[in-house]
């Protein structure tokens, strides 16, 4: 299994950035494949370990973000193994539904946006 890492640009919007140090843009480096053994049992989730060895996909990124960068309540980001209702994910400016949703395999240099739908007017 490859030991290489991917460099991914992650952006948050619609208020989600408040969960991530109030920072809209993050440059993250994460393993190109889901690690077999968690480097730190405390910070790696059950779901993130599942199917270890597979290429890193958006589902893995989501758990990786939770484990490494989430500052506040997890339930505002993840629900039932995917993003919580009201969050849209974008892969390089395209709706993730057109790219395979959580199973989209990350490419080095990808820009992934997690955006919460706004309700105000």
């Amino acid at each position: 299994m490859s030991q290489s890492t991917l460099s991914i640009k992650v952006e948050f919007g619609g208020g989600l950035e408040l969960l991530f140090s109030n920072q809209r843009s993050h440059k993250v480096s994460l393993p190109s494949h889901v690690p077999t053994a968690p480097p730190d049992a405390n910070t790696t989730s059950e779901q993130g370990k599942k199917e270890s060895g597979r290429p890193a996909d958006i589902t893995y990124l989501m758990y990786w973000m939770r484990d490494n960068l989430l500052k506040e309540r997890e339930e505002l980001f993840i629900e039932n193994g995917t993003v919580r209702p009201g969050i849209l994910v974008l892969v390089n400016d395209t709706d993730w539904e057109l790219e395979g949703e959580g199973e989209y395999v990350l490419q080095d240099g990808d820009e992934i946006v997690f955006i919460s739908t706004l309700h105000g007017g």
Partner: protein, 289 residues
Amino acid sequence: MASTQELSLEEYRRYGRQMILDNFGLPAQLKLRTSSVIVIGAGGLGCPALQYLVAAGVGTIGIVDHDTVEISNLQRQILHSEEKAGLNKALSAAEALTSINSNIKLITYPHAITPENSASLLEPFDIVLDCTDNPATRYLLSDTCVVLKKPLVSGAAQRFEGQLCTYNYGDGPCYRCLFPKPPRPEFAGSCTELGILGTVTGVIGNLQALEAIKIITGLHEGKPTLLLYSALSTNPFKSVKLRTRRPTCPACGVEGQKFGTIAATDYVAFCGGPRPDWETLGLYEGSNR
């Protein structure tokens, strides 16, 4: 249609600067005059949207708002004024709009949109503008527009951010295709005031009017996109390519492939405002399950 084939001299003078645009001309102006748009919410988004719809010559415009003008609205709701404090917003807006363009037929609905009245309210209009401020009404408008087969130009704004999307148009998605179920009420941004910068609602409301004008005049490309606006960024706008209609969508999906249900509770106001004794209308039950 006979009477719709001509413009008065006053109309030529008034609309001349847009009629000379490429692919506009008399045909587009006549389309605007014979078309109708209903704007739900005469607040931060509705005020600028209404201004530009009226100025451009959209013939019939409905304005729905149950709320009254407060001094705290004037920081962004630029159709209202100090002397209108306490007046219903739909009526206040209509008064301001009449002085801009007295040719327009304005129909005011100074009450809330509810699951009981939404279909009859929207049915007479060609296009619906969602200028509301809560998730419950957003789902109600989307589901009703799906049933009535009307495009829904949806704007939203909060803090320094805005979003714009035209739902249920062409083979584009409805709101539920993107967001099948509402966020849990306790997460939906509490109704404590989140704060909003006036120009953010201004930009999004303007763009909502433009979407409607593009649809009416045939200038809309019809590709489903979501515009994200972040007022403080150096690169403030991002245009995102969206999925087409989802066959499994509980609202607009294909019969037999639909997944999930539309709950009556989706339309329960999450907070604030009047809470009527909601019940799911037969209309939605019948056509969506």
